[in-house]
Subunit: 228 residues, 4 copies
Amino acid sequence: MKQRVFEANLALPDAGLIKLTWGNVSEIDREAGVIVIKPSGVPYAEMTAESMVATDLAGVPLDAKGLKPSSDLATHVVLYRHFEKVNAIVHTHSTNAVKWAQARRDIPAYGTTHADTFYGAVPCTRPLSQEEIVSAYEEETGNVIVATFQERHLDPLSCPAVIVSGHGPFTWGKSCQEAVQNSVVLDEVAGMALGTELLNADIASIDQYLLDKHYYRKHGKDAYYGQV
Amino acid sequence: MKQRVFEANLALPDAGLIKLTWGNVSEIDREAGVIVIKPSGVPYAEMTAESMVATDLAGVPLDAKGLKPSSDLATHVVLYRHFEKVNAIVHTHSTNAVKWAQARRDIPAYGTTHADTFYGAVPCTRPLSQEEIVSAYEEETGNVIVATFQERHLDPLSCPAVIVSGHGPFTWGKSCQEAVQNSVVLDEVAGMALGTELLNADIASIDQYLLDKHYYRKHGKDAYYGQV
Amino acid sequence: MKQRVFEANLALPDAGLIKLTWGNVSEIDREAGVIVIKPSGVPYAEMTAESMVATDLAGVPLDAKGLKPSSDLATHVVLYRHFEKVNAIVHTHSTNAVKWAQARRDIPAYGTTHADTFYGAVPCTRPLSQEEIVSAYEEETGNVIVATFQERHLDPLSCPAVIVSGHGPFTWGKSCQEAVQNSVVLDEVAGMALGTELLNADIASIDQYLLDKHYYRKHGKDAYYGQV
Amino acid sequence: MKQRVFEANLALPDAGLIKLTWGNVSEIDREAGVIVIKPSGVPYAEMTAESMVATDLAGVPLDAKGLKPSSDLATHVVLYRHFEKVNAIVHTHSTNAVKWAQARRDIPAYGTTHADTFYGAVPCTRPLSQEEIVSAYEEETGNVIVATFQERHLDPLSCPAVIVSGHGPFTWGKSCQEAVQNSVVLDEVAGMALGTELLNADIASIDQYLLDKHYYRKHGKDAYYGQV
């Protein structure tokens, strides 16, 4: 499990989604009651599988003398608690997704590249209040993500991404590999959507039936994309 | 033939036109009645020449126990049926071309880089209707491409590309290599055209005689570009 | 000399300025009466130093059985005839410079990165007329460049670049290396200038005294940049 | 020390921040009274640790027969004199930061990627006057940077970057590594901020309490990011 999380963390700079130490991947084993996450602020070149930090489901490190976990762990813990089918979470500051986060806008579903992975617009949270930021910033970041999904009646598995206002994206999935892949797709569609608006300021999201078609080509019981 | 199609498929991520498994190349042998296409959803790192799927001209796999063909095969089949001089087809979600597809706009011929390959604007199809999407999506995608060329009196060989509204580009050619090359050119001119509009919102397409000059420098009986 | 021209041609795709076979470098030896230029339409992977084509000063190949020279040779010949201190010429379709060519706009001197190499705006030619295009396209392309420099009283060595309307850039210099370097700088400042306008639609060119300072830091008898 | 400065200079083209010879890194040893800086105009491929130029605190080379120091040395000298806790300085013409410099605008703090490194907007200086440019250009560039920080009551360590109007960025830090890292962050947030404005022309900087939270997560006595 540490090996998987380590490799998933390395996949982020390889995909151009991470500069310096900006980002982290975690995985949860709900049966064993363990979360494994990247350590805080360790350069990618110095990380090993052993550097990964194991914690309990409340985010308390199992090895009190080991490396400190990512400072964003508390956000991951909240998401795992509420998104029960999610087994891995990725946080990045990938360039295109951050542009939307800073613009405080949802990323509309402008095409099938988007619809193949995200069933509808990728939501942007409201900004956190001063009280939330001062009291328990990382935990409240998780809470505002969960609240966004609840208020908009979104299913975390059919929209496996969010952008946090003024901050950046979180993505997730059933496995580390899927969560990383969703970060790749998110940044790509974020860049495409910006270009789309520059070319046509009046463009609308794709029709609901095209969204349905592409999403369900790849997901659910009637999926027919791939070899399964 | 499988080797050629395999290599052409690999050329797409090498040229930066493909992320993940988004895209496919096929080739047709009209004499032998065979189409060879990429399998559906197989990661590029795992593909071999043997993974390529051979089908008949209706798109039925010759080896019923083999890998499933690309889910876009039905689109390729329609295009091969109507574009009789086309021997290879490429589909990608390349970043710049998708921006125009999502903006639902033709790519105007703003310069000679465009005119060297595409004789006039690269057309964008109309959006598919709900009925078309629900009934036979991939086949109807082929049909709307063919209809676009018929209605606008376009020759598929002098404009070897189309962008499907809300989706992305298809390109083609007399060989796999030519079809892939046309995808490279299309994405490059799509990016240039966006920048051109940002610099000059009132810019017009190039003059017809400059378009003629550049296109026919490279194509037709009076071509004088290259070593032939 | 063929080796130098060959290496300079290879430097273009290495610097990301060329896709496919779009572009060419030539060098002139005025004493010997020889021009060496890239052959027409030969893939970079297949070129060798021996593939380079030697011609006389009128552009007639010395070896009648050898490869055909670049189709743009006639443009180079005109430039060498009128720009007497120029010893090497580069033509590319580099992405950012083409955006300005297609927008039919001069590239303003918005900063010192520009001023270090180009003493003032890089001019964009007028579009060629139908008669010019039909009669002797490549030669007339050279003529319109020369006319642009004459009408604006520009010195080809202090502004070693031009963009041809609807087409793309030509750069030059005292050596192949300098001409290639000027293509690198041109594309970089073309991209910077586009971003500058997006950030400030009312921005003006830099002050004449800052332009003077930076240009003459690197050029002329009072230059003090570098080790000479 | 020469080795450190050499490696930091090489890190700039590796990070994509430098083309040709545009940029330089210096380090100061205040105890020993020595500054080490890149030589002027030497191609990166030809540089060695021994090429680095050592000077006294006034910028006079210790080895009168050695290579000439970077022409920007006088700017570094002024900054070291006034920014007493700064031990290393980097100058680049990195693409995104130059766009803001040429647009003559501060880079607003639009998100946490920015706030993690820069406590507030990165300031853009006023343009230099003709007299300043003609008399002692590089020294006056240092002076206008210092004046910008004094007039705005900015702390050079909490905002370790500036953009010089019409020119480009300088960054600094307690070490070469930190100064280079700040150049990487600056160019990244400069690009993000441009995209943010394209997506939302009315966007404001992030709230002061989010800025405080992110900056002080990584800096000062209550920092809790990383392993220290």
